[in-house]
């Protein structure tokens, strides 16, 4: 084991006390993985926005690094946090609920599946304790701790999270809600949710992965999700980042797609003081399709960073990347879209856009879509825009009787609805629509294109 650098002493102390305490009887492979995570974290530490570090150019995680976040303890009663679970009606009987409070699986709030019919939906803590071979081979495979301080730290503290495994050929659609809640007792605490999703051949899974927490509590969520989409499988993935206004969130999602698989995601960000959404999708076999949509609404002093990468590693794959941002107050949004088309990936079809609606003079967006193309027979496009509400359009609405506020709210809502409408679960779509509608600022300025 590596010694702790002085500046991460409190993380090391937490790590040590787990190793010497509850983790004494952990399976060797799991403890090796954690040790490797710690080793990598102590080497790399937290990333810095230094020159040449393109991945962190616009986002300074200093505010996270300088607080001594300690590991959240197991809550005494989880029921008190139930109100923080996203409040929409579940998608029906074929659905499973996994609920976590402060990083720990809540038996009271969850309805798991035992896996007898090819579906396993369980807490990672119990699944790893059962020494399950598929977990051993998959955990840390798509999101290794190398070169990424946050993923490394999550790996070092890996102990609970969600495990979803649908075995090959299970054709019935499976819907899983994974809700990570941080409680009111989590001031200066950190949680390390880990999500592992394995969609076997020709399976069909819908996953709603949500992160919520209380307002006015400073806490940190360092989440990692690994999602494996098997041949011919289909995953609809929703990521709801609805943390409290003082929260920090770094999410690392790694997706691997097999032949003819489909991965559709919609990521929603509202709230959170400083957030980073880092998603990478590897199109690893011909015929894979991914559609990644995102919506972020920022206000006050929020800083929201989305870094979305798509790797066309094999020919005949299609990717669609469409993110939208609404910025108000003194907030800042960062969008990095990286689409890579490798030399052998002929007939790749990739489109990416990031559009931003800027409602205040003090807010700022840094949008950087990029395409790296090494194949010659491809169809690729990218674009980014940042604009204000259009004055002519506003007048059109006002000339029909809508006042300035109602008109601008309608236009901001319309802007957001393109992404909200991609949500296929109706109750979730309505829930998000209500949530985002309520978050639209009352005064929507400035107005562009004034003649």
């Amino acid at each position: 084991m590596t010694s702790a650098p002085a500046k991460h002493a409190h993380y090391f102390a937490d790590f040590q006390s787990l190793v010497q305490g509850p983790w004494t009887d952990a399976p060797a492979w799991l403890q090796d993985l954690r040790d490797n995570g710690w080793s990598k974290f102590s080497e790399t530490g937290f990333p810095t926005a230094r020159r040449g570090n393109e991945r962190w150019k616009y986002t300074n995680v200093g505010p996270i690094a300088k607080i001594d976040f300690s590991l959240a303890g197991q809550p005494i009663a989880a029921n008190g946090s139930k109100a923080l679970v996203p409040d929409y009606k579940g998608p029906g009987t074929a659905a499973f609920d996994l609920v976590y409070v402060d990083g720990y699986y809540s038996v009271e709030l969850s309805s798991p599946s035992t896996g007898s019919d090819g579906v396993t939906v369980a807490s990672l803590a119990s699944a790893t304790a059962d020494s399950n071979a598929s977990i051993e081979s998959q955990l840390g495979r798509l999101a290794p701790p190398d070169n990424d301080g946050f993923a490394a730290l999550n790996t070092a503290f890996l102990q609970d999270g969600a495990y979803v495994h649908v075995t090959d050929g299970h054709s019935e659609k499976v819907t899983v809600r994974i809700s990570y809640i941080t409680s009111h007792d989590a001031e200066s605490k950190v949680t390390y949710p880990r999500t592992l999703i394995i969609a076997g051949r020709n399976t069909d899974i819908t996953v709603v992965e949500s992160y919520t927490g209380p307002t006015d509590v400073v806490y940190f969520t360092n989440a990692v999700a690994e999602i494996s989409v098997g041949e011919g499988a289909k995953i609809d993935h929703y990521r709801l980042l609805l943390e409290g206004n003082k929260a920090f969130h770094v999410g690392t999602s790694r997706v691997n797609q097999e032949k003819d698989s489909s991965f559709s995601s919609a990521s929603f960000t509202l709230g959170t003081s400083l957030a980073r959404n880092d998603m990478e999708v590897l199109l690893d076999a011909p015929g894979a399709y991914c559609s990644l949509n995102g919506l972020y609404l920022t206000a006050d002093n929020q800083h929201i960073d989305n870094l979305i990468s798509i790797d066309h590693a094999k020919p005949h794959c299609t990717s669609r990347l469409n993110y939208k941002g609404i910025l108000d107050g003194r907030s800042r949004a960062v969008f990095g879209g990286e689409v890579m088309v490798r030399r052998d990936a002929q007939k790749s079809d990739a489109e990416q856009t990031d559009k931003n609606l800027v409602l205040s003079k003090q807010s700022e967006v840094d949008s950087k879509p990029s395409l790296l193309i090494y194949a010659d027979d491809v169809k690729c496009s990218h674009g980014a825009t940042a604009g204000h509400i259009d004055a002519d359009t506003l007048f059109y609405l006002r000339s029909r009787g809508l006042d300035l506020d109602a008109a601008s709210r309608m236009l901001v809502h319309a802007f957001a609805s393109e992404i909200i409408d991609t949500v296929k679960l109706e109750p979730l779509r309505e829930y998000l629509d209500t949530l985002f509608t309520a978050a639209i600022p009352d005064k929507s300025l400035p107005v562009g294109n004034l003649k």
Binding site: A391, L397, M410
Partner: protein, 262 residues
């Protein structure tokens, strides 16, 4: 000249209206009276100020009114926000209707109707009542019902957009409709449908100001009065026959007459 209605008070009275776009003076003194039940055609060559007039009346912020008065039902409206004018019963059919991706026609129209009702101290319309009303209006102006289910004007053809303006007019039931070159860019079928819509909505209680470059639409909508706008002023007024004269002779004779008089 006779008015088409017996109302003694004009619906709209414009006196000495002057307006600028940026540093440029566009309207140089417009006088016009419109009574309920009338259709006035405002014609003129490009750049004469006829679209500006329609937009200034509707309250478009791009223009600065520098003088004159506009009374609508006796009330000076020049200081009123465009939405207040709309709620009072003014409607501008746009020359280039805007596309509103993500705004459902239903939601858009209901917001307009409700804004007007609330302004008049009435309650908002129930969704059901509005549904029925909209359905009736769609049938009345013969618009494709599918257009109402889509986002407002998004991906519509030019003709569909203009028809949609007529539907909006039918739903909002204005007292004064300003049609800003609604005929431009329409093929003959669309022109007929749009004109039918306008004729259908004509009543002794409301009035229409029809701004157009061409006489063509006046074959379908017979105006009570035709005014020729040139260089920011109404230089000639007459009945429908004036439009035919313009069709035959073009605008040059008017320009020459005005320019010679200066």
């Amino acid at each position: 000249m006779t008015t088409a209605s017996n109302n003694s008070k004009p619906l709209l009275t414009i006196k000495g209206l002057t307006a600028m776009a940026g540093e440029l003076e566009i309207l140089k003194g417009i006088d016009l009276e419109v009574f309920a039940g009338e259709v006035h055609a405002i014609m003129g060559p490009n750049g004469s100020g006829k679209s500006t007039l329609a937009n200034v009346l509707a309250g478009r912020p791009d223009y600065t009114v520098t003088g004159g008065t506009v009374l609508f039902e006796g009330q000076d409206i020049l200081k009123l926000e465009p939405e207040i004018r709309a709620r009072l019963g003014l409607f501008l059919a746009f020359q280039y209707p805007l596309e509103l991706p993500g705004v459902r026609a239903w939601q858009f129209l209901k917001a307009g109707v409700d804004a007007k009702r609330v302004h008049n101290g009435e309650e908002e319309m129930s969704a059901r009542e509005f549904d029925q009303m909209l359905k009736a209006k769609v049938a009345e102006v013969q618009i494709d019902p599918d257009l109402v289910k889509r986002a407002v004007n998004e991906g519509f053809s030019g003709g569909e957009k203009k028809r949609n303006e007529i539907l909006q007019m039918a739903v909002l039931e204005p007292k004064l409709a300003l049609l800003d070159e609604t005929d431009s860019g329409l093929d003959i079928d669309a022109l007929r449908i749009v004109s039918d819509g306008v004729n259908l909505l004509r009543s002794p209680e409301n009035a229409v100001i029809l701004v157009t470059h061409y006489q063509r639409i006046l074959n379908y909508i017979t105006p009570n009065f035709v005014h020729v706008l040139y260089d920011g002023r109404i230089v000639q007024s007459g009945g429908p026959e004036l439009a035919h004269e313009l069709e035959e002779k073009g605008y040059d004779w008017i320009k020459d007459a005005v320019d010679a008089a200066v």
